[in-house]
Amino acid sequence: MYSDKVMEHFQNPRNVGEISDADGVGTVGNAKCGDIMKMFIKVEDNIITDVKFKTFGCGAAIATSSMATELAVGKTVEEALELTNKAVAEALDGLPPAKMHCSNLAADALKKAINNYLGIETDDSDEDHHHHHGHDEF
């Protein structure tokens, strides 16, 4: 069901991790499916020089996060803001239709990180996945 490119990025995800002195951080989540993505960016002279991610989610969620980081590095802030979830999916040779809604949030996470860098307040309504963070420690 997944393209070879999705499988490749799932197996060898690029840019996993955190940037401790990040210039911008963005988290997005999808309540229903449960995917959560966190993006960290470094910006120098308006160019995105480094992107790292952490993702809780399915194969498509991990692959789209990985691809989005690759697409963003080297772009200007304005160019990176133009990046869409659709473009990320296309770069991976497509995703199954159901995965377009529930797992391809990578461009949104990136946009949120950039807005954070730019000091723009963003709507947190898409982070209602926190409702599902249970207290059932085990």
Binding site: M37, H133, F138
Partner: protein, 388 residues
Amino acid sequence: MKRVYMDNGATTPTDPEILEAMKPYFTDIFGNASSFHSFGREARNAITEARDSVAKLIGADDSREIVFTSGGTESDNYAIKGVAEALEKKGKHIITSSIEHHAVLHTCQYLEKKKGFEVTYLAVDEDGMVNPQDVKDAIKEDTILITIMMANNEVGTIQPIAEIGKIAKEAGVTFHTDAVQAVGTIPVDVNELNVDLLSLSGHKFNAPKGIGALYIRKGTKVAKYLHGGAQERNRRATTENVPGIVGLGKACEIALNTMDEKSAKLTVLRDRLISGIEEQVDYVKLNGHRTERLPGNVNFSIRYIEGESILMKLDLEGIAASSGSACTSGSLDPSHVLLAMGLTHEVAHGSLRLTLGKYNTEEDVDRVLDVLPKVVTDLRAMSPIYNG
């Protein structure tokens, strides 16, 4: 790379001995069991023998109480719609549980939405167990059917069917159990269980896919399901799947002779897998009842990671398993069974089901115990909600 198959709850490979028993019925003994001539008689005799084997395995008094079907889903549909149609003048209330297989739940929902029935979906406890007292309390004047599964396909919890059956019997309500996961693996006796109808499926215990049976206790009112010829004592029209029926008969015969041994072996492997995972992986929770569970069922919630990712990583290592994660199915909701047991969405998304079958070995278990902790560590390293 040696592949490890641990998805026997989904389906099992056909036993070579069963395949051998079936082979002549594709070529040499190919007659239509409804035909008058000797070719037909040969096929009919084979069906009779298989029917006896099925009846014997589940303790039916009379083999004529067995109707062959295409599998568990058809048996469940036949039982529920059949009783509903036969008894709708008496009442339109059905009792089931919230953790049934979709073959039962969707059939009940169909009757509710399209036929005006009222269905009570009983809640379960955190182990996925139905409380017999809840069944008793739910019975009303117009209750015509109780349908509760014998063993859950996802978490393996075995229900107190005999007790529920006794309650149904005392109340004079028809009782059906979906025993698809149970038959061939644990002892099933329709009289001890007090059931009027029981569904079973061949491919869950090493017979081929596409063959199952419905036990219908003598005297139980069930409306005819398929219309056409007079096959199966006029209860299910359509030319009999003779090779499949022979295969199911053989599977029942083998199960009768080897069940104790198989069950003991699977229990040892299961417990080794459960304790191994609990020792090596932190933040895990066993789903389902710890002791009242199918011998081959292991189901864990693994926190901070998601089920499909676990399955994909395991698959890349040659290990086949399944998950209650939404992302592995067409729907976006995680397993209705795990949610009914009180798990949050996030935890339910991270579930892993490993189901053992008779061909699994200790080496298979060791391989999973070798691979799984690394898979979990890798995925958690990537998870924004895991903090070491």
